[in-house]
């Protein structure tokens, strides 16, 4: 909280800055990861050109994206179908969804 805002009331901070807070955390994590990678490969940077470095980054991030897409699809597909079904006309009620008859 302290590094995000200064002077605004805490309640308004939690609501208004929820979305930007996530972005800031994501960006700082990215910067930390890049810094760590740079530290590790500073001696070898001379051997790897910029294009190869970009390709490697793209591959790593696409692997990360595929892995997380798979997890999201695994947990979220059935809820997605139920959500789409509950919003279709005529809208069924929650009691109809949960009752066994």
């Amino acid at each position: 909280m302290n590094l995000l805002s200064s002077g605004s009331p805490p309640i308004i901070t939690t609501h208004k800055l929820q979305y930007p807070k996530f972005l800031i955390i994501l960006l700082s994590a990215t910067r930390l990861a890049e810094a760590a990678m740079e530290k590790g490969k500073a001696p070898a940077e001379a051997a790897e050109s910029a294009a190869a470095y970009a390709a490697r980054l793209a591959r790593e991030w696409s692997t990360w994206a595929m892995k997380n897409t798979k997890v999201v699809a695994h947990y979220g597909f059935i809820p997605l179908v139920i959500l789409v079904g509950m919003r279709s006309e005529p809208k069924p009620s929650l009691a109809q969804l949960l009752s066994p008859v």
Partner: protein, 335 residues
């Protein structure tokens, strides 16, 4: 006429099909490439199961349904010896279906965490996207396939992308009103394998014949003959009127559809030949399918409609050489 011949309706004239001039610019759209053998598959490969099966489908709206499915039976474990080893298993599967003309979402989730997902979405009038995925909790066992289908006036084209760097494309074209021919290529990235295949399908109102040849060494032929007859059932209809003895002889027509199917498959790599012959009786209240195989397997599958929305299933598969007997029974409730 005399007697019954007077009151029975006249038999319709035999179909005299006029010889129509074929308009080669206006051919019908062929069936999708993966479905050219669908009649043979429907008749010869029913969903045989072993044990107890119970399916319950609850329709919440016309398009949205939830399903619960229980299967208690044996699972065959692959074994080195010639013996068949079966492990008793039970599973519960929860499913949610959303069926719309433009969007179809089908999801099935099992107790061991496996998800079977199918999506079909019409992006435009001619272009459809199909996704078929089996996701598991264990890593590296999941599979997925994306298909882009384009439907033209008398052709269909499909492009596939799958996991493990699988890429495939196929194309099928109507050549005459009865004949359609197609080709496919695929490339498997992980194993650096590629293949090409050809198939053709000839169908009329009464029969369907297909041929498939692939560079993986598979030759498959199938033939289905449809025999449909309107069978006359006579029964007495009792009139509960003042005159109890008033019985009217009523004649009702029931359509019985019988399909006879045969299938032949040759695998050049493993020198494996299999041929099967089967029948498919679609009656008013039941559907009975049976087949005999060249491997010595006899199978039968019966679906009997007991009541509106209640089906009774019986499945049997007898493998004489391996002495493997599988019998199953079940019920399906709901549409």
């Amino acid at each position: 006429g005399v007697g019954l011949a007077g009151i029975l309706p006249q038999k319709p004239d035999g179909d005299d099909k006029k010889e129509e001039k074929v308009d080669y610019l206006n051919l019908p759209c062929p069936v999708p490439y993966e479905e050219i053998q669908r009649e043979a598959l429907m008749s010869l490969k029913p969903e045989l199961f072993e044990g107890l099966r119970f399916d319950f489908t609850k329709m919440l709206t016309q398009k949205f349904a939830l399903s619960h499915s229980v299967l208690m039976g044996s699972l065959e474990v692959p074994s080195q010896s010639a013996d068949v080893i079966k492990v008793p298993t039970s599973q519960y599967e929860f499913g949610a279906n959303f069926l719309d003309p433009k969007l179809m979402l089908i999801g099935r989730l099992m107790t061991d965490g496996r998800l079977n997902a199918r999506v079909k979405c019409d992006l435009t009038e001619n272009l459809a996207l199909k996704i078929n995925a089996q996701l598991t909790s264990e890593p590296h066992y999941s599979q997925g396939m994306f298909n882009f289908d384009y439907k033209g006036t008398d052709y269909r084209a499909q492009f596939q992308i799958g996991n493990n760097a699988f890429y495939g494309a196929n194309y099928i074209q109507s050549v005459t009103p009865n004949l359609s021919m197609g080709t496919e290529i695929f490339w498997l990235g992980q194993q650096r394998k590629s293949g090409i295949g050809f198939n053709s399908r000839y169908n009329t109102d009464k029969m369907v014949g297909t041929l498939q040849v692939a560079s993986t060494g598979i030759v498959a032929l199938s033939y289905v003959q449809k025999v449909s007859e309107k069978v006359r059932h006579y029964y007495y209809e009792h009139e509960l009127s003042a005159c109890y003895f008033n019985q009217a002889l009523t004649c009702k027509y029931t359509e019985v559809q019988v399909s006879l199917a045969t299938d032949f498959m040759y695998n050049h790599m493993s020198r494996d030949v299999t041929s099967s012959v089967g029948y498919d009786y679609i009656l008013r209240q039941c559907r009975l399918r049976g087949k005999v195989d060249s491997n010595g397997v006899v199978a039968a599958y019966l679906e009997e409609r007991l009541n509106m929305g209640v089906n009774f299933l019986l499945s049997a598969e007898i493998d004489h050489p391996k002495k493997n007997y599988k019998f199953g029974f079940g019920m399906t409730v709901g549409e």
